[in-house]
């Protein structure tokens, strides 16, 4: 469903030019769960932002469901983000003045879903993340793990086929991190394609496919893992 051909991303600041991504190639199929690892500053967030159409790229071609993203208008990209993509951020990014119910409602309102349908979905999603009873609470009244679960509920409410998460467990302790991971795995089993950037190698190993970004490029190997078996299969990529 996602195909990147020679994607380049150059940040031009006054003094320096940063090649955040160089000739980046990747193909992601429907239903995959990919963990992205790599050193700090290697371009993981840049990749995720481009995949989620949060940032433009400076070269190459990106096809999402066979649509060339580079040709789309800003409004069309916003609409596609709203319809196809769910985002989970390291900092949760809940809106502090909105209660949990209203936070989850945000993307649904942008999609113009009717109130009754919104209510059904919000309640479903809050139920799924185990926070239905706290719908009226404000984000600041929750722990970090709970906030991230709300953020996941918000990402799920639009029933996206594609979930992008940038260090979703980065601000959580290991117990909470595991809970969030389990939630993501469950979501993946239900059919969503997930790309998750993480620094946590233990969590990464739980994902069926691992990719590594080094210096703006995909490292020369991709790890496919078999969830059910302990065996790890290493495949050469490109070479």
């Amino acid at each position: 469903m996602l195909k990147m051909n020679n994607i380049n991303k150059v940040y031009q600041t006054e003094k320096v030019q940063t090649h955040a991504l160089r000739d980046f190639n990747l193909e992601v199929n429907e239903g995959e769960f990919i963990a992205v690892t790599g050193p700090s500053g290697s371009g993981k967030t840049t990749f995720l932002n481009i995949a989620g159409m949060l940032e433009p790229y400076t070269g190459g071609q990106y096809l999402l469901d066979d649509v060339d993203v580079g040709t789309l208008s800003d409004n069309k990209r916003a609409d596609l983000r709203n319809q196809k993509i769910g985002f989970i951020f390291q900092g949760f990014n809940l809106i502090p003045d909105l209660n949990l119910y209203e936070n989850v409602e945000v993307p649904l309102r942008y999609r113009g879903i009717k109130s009754a349908e919104r209510r059904r979905r919000i309640e479903d999603c809050l139920e799924k993340v185990g926070l239905a009873s706290r719908a009226k609470h404000l984000p600041q009244q929750l722990s970090g793990g709970q906030q991230q679960r709300v953020a996941i509920a918000r990402a799920l409410a639009g029933e996206p086929r594609f979930l992008l998460a940038d260090e979703p467990t980065g601000n959580l302790d290991s117990l909470m991190a595991r809970q969030v991971m389990e939630l993501l795995e469950q979501i993946n089993r239900e059919g969503a394609t997930i790309i998750m950037v993480t620094h946590d190698s233990e969590l990464a190993r739980r994902a069926p496919r691992n990719i590594q970004v080094v210096d703006g490029q995909l490292a020369d190997f991709t790890l496919y893992q078999n969830r059910s078996a302990d065996s790890v299969v290493e495949l050469a990529s490109g070479a």
Binding site: L54, D74, D97
Partner: protein, 404 residues
């Protein structure tokens, strides 16, 4: 889709800024609607039709100290001298000058004042003495009847013979003879009967703020005094030049006198209204400052809110908000505050209007002014939001992942 409910809920949870803005909008609405109404009222007053071609007329006074002349005869001569100056249309010695702020008034009745007091209707009116040249010099239009004959004009230094006719303003006539049959009837100044022989469509008295500013009666009497006012009408282009010659010409004719208080009619009217003009200017400044401060306040608060919510805006964009949805968010947010402020401000405006009416006897506030002010404030407020809101819409959705 306007999202009013979640925006309102969010505002309820951090309301300090919103409340300050609301108060500011309310105060602005209350003050601006009252002030603009007062301005309108004063402008109407200042620009009202007086009946006179004010830029053609000027007046002065002559202080005579020579004792060797009959003053009334002397002024007949002076009038002739004045009329012969090139550019002068006409001139008349007049006891009182219209619009100047100084004059005589009395109540005129349909019956003489007897020992027991007057019977029947009486009406207050200003009056002035002048001869058959008075109407032309004042530049007013006779709409009914006729001007004075020369033999109706009494020129005297005493009151042995009194005038018997008068020309009145239409407003006066309609007030004292509301049946409309006033022309030819007789009115009384004290016990002096005056037959109404002519009606002028519009001529205002000396005081624009009189309770009867439009009532004026011209009585054909020349009874010149040692301090005598003179009214002159000239071609408007030549008026200034004529005014400059007046003193020399009059002293050449007879030198035992001085010319004082030489002024255009428009100038003396402006002096009479000086405090109104000053108030008008101050109100205009006040309104301008208030509206600017409010606009700046709204602008500042929006900029502040946007800076505070950069990450939230990026997140909303990431979740699928179009740029227009971000602009709309701030417009609706401001609109809610503004409308609440306008409602409170309108109530305050009504209250303030009533208080001004009671304490300063200003005219009752026309409520359409509140409506117009409210619309104006709403427009100013939405425009003040538009610029920062557009900037907010350009915040990149990537701040959602970039700012921790």
């Amino acid at each position: 889709m306007l999202e009013i409910k979640p925006i309102f809920n969010a505002m309820r949870r951090s309301k300090a800024g919103a409340i300050m803005l609301l108060i500011q909008i309310a105060i602005t609405t209350a003050i601006v609607s009252n002030a603009s109404f007062i301005i309108y009222d004063r402008v109407q007053y200042l620009q009202q039709e007086t009946g006179y071609p004010e830029d053609e007329i000027f007046h002065f006074a002559v202080q005579t100290f020579g004792k060797d002349v009959d003053l009334s005869q002397q002024f007949e001569l002076t009038e002739t001298t004045l009329r012969n100056i090139p550019g002068v249309i006409n001139a008349v010695a007049m006891q009182e000058i219209p619009l100047s702020g100084g004059g005589s008034a009395s109540s005129f009745g349909i019956n003489p004042t007897s020992d027991q007091g007057r019977q029947g209707r009486e009406v207050r009116s200003a009056y002035t003495y002048g001869d058959e040249h008075a109407l032309e010099t004042m530049g007013v239009d006779l709409i009914e009847g006729r001007n004075f004959n020369q033999n109706e004009v009494i020129i005297a230094q005493n009151r042995d013979v009194l005038p018997t006719v008068a020309i009145v303003s239409k407003t006066f006539l309609e007030e004292i003879f509301p049946e409309g049959d006033g022309l030819g009837q007789t009115i009384y100044l004290g016990d002096m009967p005056l037959k109404i022989i002519g009606v002028v469509g519009k001529m205002m008295g000396p005081w624009l703020k009189d309770s009867r500013p439009d009532n004026l009666i011209v009585i054909p009497f020349v009874n010149a005094g040692v301090y005598q006012k003179v009214l002159v009408r000239a071609d408007p282009e030549q008026r200034a030049q004529v005014m400059g010659q007046i003193e020399d010409i009059l002293l050449k004719e007879y030198d035992q006198r001085v010319v004082v208080n030489l002024n255009g009619m428009d100038e003396s009217k402006r002096r009479y209204n000086a405090s109104d003009i000053l108030m008008l200017r101050m109100l205009v400044v006040l309104i301008t400052v208030l509206v600017l401060v409010t606009a700046l306040g709204i602008f500042g608060l929006t900029v502040f809110n946007i800076n505070k919510r950069t990450r939230q805006i990026g997140t909303r964009r990431a979740l699928g908000a179009r740029k227009s949805a971000i602009v709309r968010y701030f417009m609706v947010e401001n609109g809610i505050i503004c409308i609440a402020g306008l409602v409170i401000g309108s109530a305050a405006a009504v209250y303030m209007g009533t208080a001004l009416l009671e304490h300063y006897s200003l005219p009752a506030l026309d409520h359409s002014y509140i409506g117009m002010t409210a619309i104006f404030v709403l427009v100013v407020s939405l425009l003040s939001v538009l610029v920062p809101a557009n900037r907010a819409a350009n915040i990149s959705p990537s701040v959602a992942t970039r700012s921790i």
